[in-house]
Each structure stands twice: as structure tokens, then as C-alpha cells.
């Protein structure tokens, strides 16, 4: 039987499959009742309308069942609101390695932060331009590198 925290932390994000939900910062707590064995997992969405949440809940329950914890409940909380500052250093490195530019620090949260230079995750050049502030998923914007001409995703600071 695997420790429930270890099992849940290994669940990958269904839309960005190179990063786990723990590295993404959306896994808030894993609590096991020692008497009953019941596991309660608390997660928070990146965006309110994130369509991946149902899949993430299913994946968590499946991972716990495989790890020997069939009695599991997944709770969703909204406060405090998720921030890209919660993405771990490992998570940022994995995003960059997968061609997704990680987010800059978000500032005080009251205004949309200005990102001065987003480095191309492929060639490292700071000569990049935003094509669209909204991208393939709610959490990403679409950018292009002027040096190597490759388009790439950028995880928006939130």
C-alpha cells in the first residue's frame, strides 16, 4: 500500500502532462483518517472554468484506488485563490523543458502584470512577441520567438 500523499502527488495534469498536480500547486491537502482509512484530498482550480477539473478528480480517485485507498473523497476549495507563484521550481523547469515558458512573478494581484521579456523555451532568446493573450487552454497565452521563429505557449502569470 502506497502512502496516499505520494500517490496523489504523482497525478499529472491532464492538459499539461509533463507536470504533476502537486508541482502545479493545485494539490492543497491529503488527509487520511487513521481509524477508517478514508482519504480526503483537497484541490483548487487554476481557473474557475477549468474543464480539466473533472478529469483530475477522477484521476486522483483512480490513483488512490490503485495505491490501496479505495475510500476517497476529493474536495474543491477556491480560497485562497490559486496563483502561478505556487508552481514549484521543479514544475517550472519541467514546463520550460516541454516548450512552455513558465510564468513571471505575478506582483500584488490587483492588476495584470506587465511581462517585460518572456524567454523562448526552445532557444532561450528574449526576442519574443505575444501573438494572443489567450491560448490553447485557459492558463496559457500564445507567443512566438523572433529569433528561431517557433511559436510557443506561455503560462500566464495569475
Amino acid at each position: 500500500m502506497t502512502d496516499p500523499r505520494t500517490a496523489v502527488a504523482a497525478v499529472v495534469d491532464p492538459e499539461i502532462r509533463v507536470i504533476t498536480i502537486d508541482e502545479l500547486g493545485i494539490l492543497r491537502a491529503v488527509d487520511e483518517d487513521p481509524a477508517t482509512g478514508r482519504v480526503v484530498v483537497t484541490i483548487t482550480p487554476t481557473y474557475t472554468g477549468c474543464p480539466a477539473m473533472d478529469v483530475i478528480r477522477d484521476d486522483i480517485r483512480r490513483a488512490l484506488a490503485v495505491a490501496g485507498h479505495p475510500d476517497a473523497e476529493v474536495r474543491t476549495v477556491f480560497s485562497p485563490a490559486w496563483s502561478t507563484d505556487w508552481i514549484s521550481a521543479d514544475g517550472r523547469a519541467k514546463l520550460a523543458a516541454a516548450g512552455i515558458a513558465p510564468p513571471a512573478p505575478r506582483g500584488d494581484g490587483t492588476a495584470v502584470p506587465v511581462t517585460l521579456a518572456v524567454r523562448c523555451p526552445r532557444c532561450g532568446s528574449p526576442e519574443t512577441a505575444q501573438l494572443s493573450r489567450f491560448g490553447s487552454t485557459a492558463c496559457k497565452a500564445l507567443w512566438r520567438c523572433r529569433s528561431c521563429s517557433e511559436p510557443f505557449d506561455h503560462l500566464k502569470a495569475l
Binding site: 472554468g49 477556491f78 480560497s79 494572443s132 489567450f134 491560448g135
Partner: protein
């Protein structure tokens, strides 16, 4: 509006109807990036709508969940403002409408984040970050259209003239609500007036101020919108994917 239920329902309906309208742009936007942007903004609005309507259902205590509130009410039971139900029109109408809506939702959600109701505070803290992107996006487009070509300026000014009367309804005083909408007016003006000035658009004089949405008295446009949004759910009650 007066109690927390009516207030939460009204905010949820604003977001739900705005999401449905924005979704109509999918595959029809002037360029691919804008198609994706409008769909993303619609998704944010839908996310906020789901949270608000779920909570409204709990406050009501009559066993109605988000689906019952979204799909099984008729137009007279909707409490959204008239602004969000108006047709999309051309791209200028959609962008001016989004600017007016976002410039209202940002201070609204910010105020909610500090209100004593924990659920509303959590929703406000979450949604305000997303609304800030909507405001930024629509403000850029309104400036680009207003201060663009003669044709884009003409369309942006026409859109503003058409929509401006409807924004007054957003700030109707309601001292009993968790956040009194009248207190949001100054923040709205502080954001919108400079954007319009930079866009070289003329702010219309206050004249006609249509309202009634918060009391369930809507334009004819809402009935058609609801017919499309609700038909599947009503034809197949309880159906699941």
C-alpha cells in the same frame, strides 16, 4: 435585488448570459487568436457562473442546483442585467460591451473578496484575477478600434452610443446587498473614462437609462438566447454525456 440569494443569482446570471453570448463567436471571430480569446473569456464567465449559481441554489434552500437554475428557469426568472443579453452585433459592439462588463466586474469581484460572506469572498478573489484579463483585453481593442481607421472609429462610436444607456443599470443602488452596486461607480468611471478618451471616443450624455433586468423584465433577446441554451437539457431531462 435585496437579499444574498437575489444578489448571488443576479451575478451568476450576468456571467452565464455573458458566457453564452461570447460563445456565439466561436468559429466566427475575425481572426483565429480572437476566436480563442473570446472562447477563453466565455469559459471564465461560465466558471464564475457555475460557482455563483451553485451557491445561489444553496442559499435558496429549495434543492435547485446550478443546472436547475441555468436550464429550468424562464426569462422572467432571470436576474441578469440587460447589457449582457443584447445581441453581439459587430466586433466593436462585442468589445465595447465586454469593456463595460469587465470594468464593472473587476471592482465588483474585488469588493466581494472583502465581504463577510466567506463563499462570496472566495468566488470574488478567484474571479477578479480573470476579469482583470478581460478588462485589459477589451480596453486594448476599444483603443485600437476607436483610434484606428475612419471605419473602425465609426463602428466603435456607434457601439458605444448603442450600449452606453444600458450600463447605468449595473450601478442601481441596493444598500441591502452584500456589495452595494452604487459604490462601484467611481472605480468604473476611473477605468472607462481614460480608455474612451485614449480611443478618441465621445462618451454619450446620460439620457435614456433602460433597466428591469434585476426584476426579471428583459428585452426580447433573452428569450431567444435561453431557447438555444436550454433546448437540449429540456428535451432530454437528466441526460448525461
Amino acid at each position: 435585488m435585496n437579499g444574498p440569494f437575489d444578489f448571488t443569482l443576479a451575478l451568476g446570471d450576468d456571467a452565464l448570459v455573458a458566457a453564452q453570448r461570447l460563445g456565439e463567436w466561436a468559429t466566427r471571430a475575425p481572426e483565429m487568436e480572437e476566436d480563442i480569446a473570446l472562447a477563453n473569456i466565455a469559459l471564465d464567465q461560465l466558471g464564475a457562473a457555475r460557482l455563483l449559481l451553485s451557491y445561489a441554489g444553496e442559499l435558496e434552500g429549495a434543492g435547485r442546483d446550478e443546472d436547475a437554475l441555468a436550464y429550468l428557469r424562464d426569462d422572467r426568472e432571470f436576474r441578469n442585467c440587460l447589457l449582457v443579453e443584447l445581441p453581439n452585433g459587430d466586433f466593436a459592439v462585442t468589445m465595447v460591451k465586454l469593456l463595460l462588463l469587465a470594468a464593472y466586474q473587476v471592482p465588483l469581484y474585488t469588493a466581494l473578496a472583502g465581504c463577510p460572506d466567506e463563499r462570496l469572498a472566495a468566488i470574488g478573489a478567484k474571479a477578479r484575477k480573470e476579469s482583470a484579463y478581460h478588462l485589459d483585453h477589451s480596453a486594448l481593442w476599444v483603443k485600437r478600434l476607436g483610434d484606428g481607421t475612419d471605419e473602425s472609429h465609426r463602428r466603435a462610436q456607434a457601439a458605444l452610443d448603442q450600449l452606453w444607456p444600458y450600463h447605468h443599470e449595473l450601478f442601481t443602488a441596493d444598500p441591502a446587498a452584500p456589495v452595494d452596486p452604487a459604490t462601484l461607480r467611481a472605480d468604473f468611471d476611473a477605468v472607462v473614462h481614460p480608455v474612451l478618451a485614449e480611443a478618441t471616443l465621445t462618451r454619450p450624455e446620460t439620457g435614456w437609462t433602460p433597466g428591469g433586468g434585476r426584476d426579471g423584465v428583459h428585452t426580447e433577446h433573452l428569450s431567444f438566447l435561453l431557447a438555444e441554451m436550454q433546448v437540449l437539457h429540456r428535451a432530454h431531462p437528466g441526460a448525461r454525456w
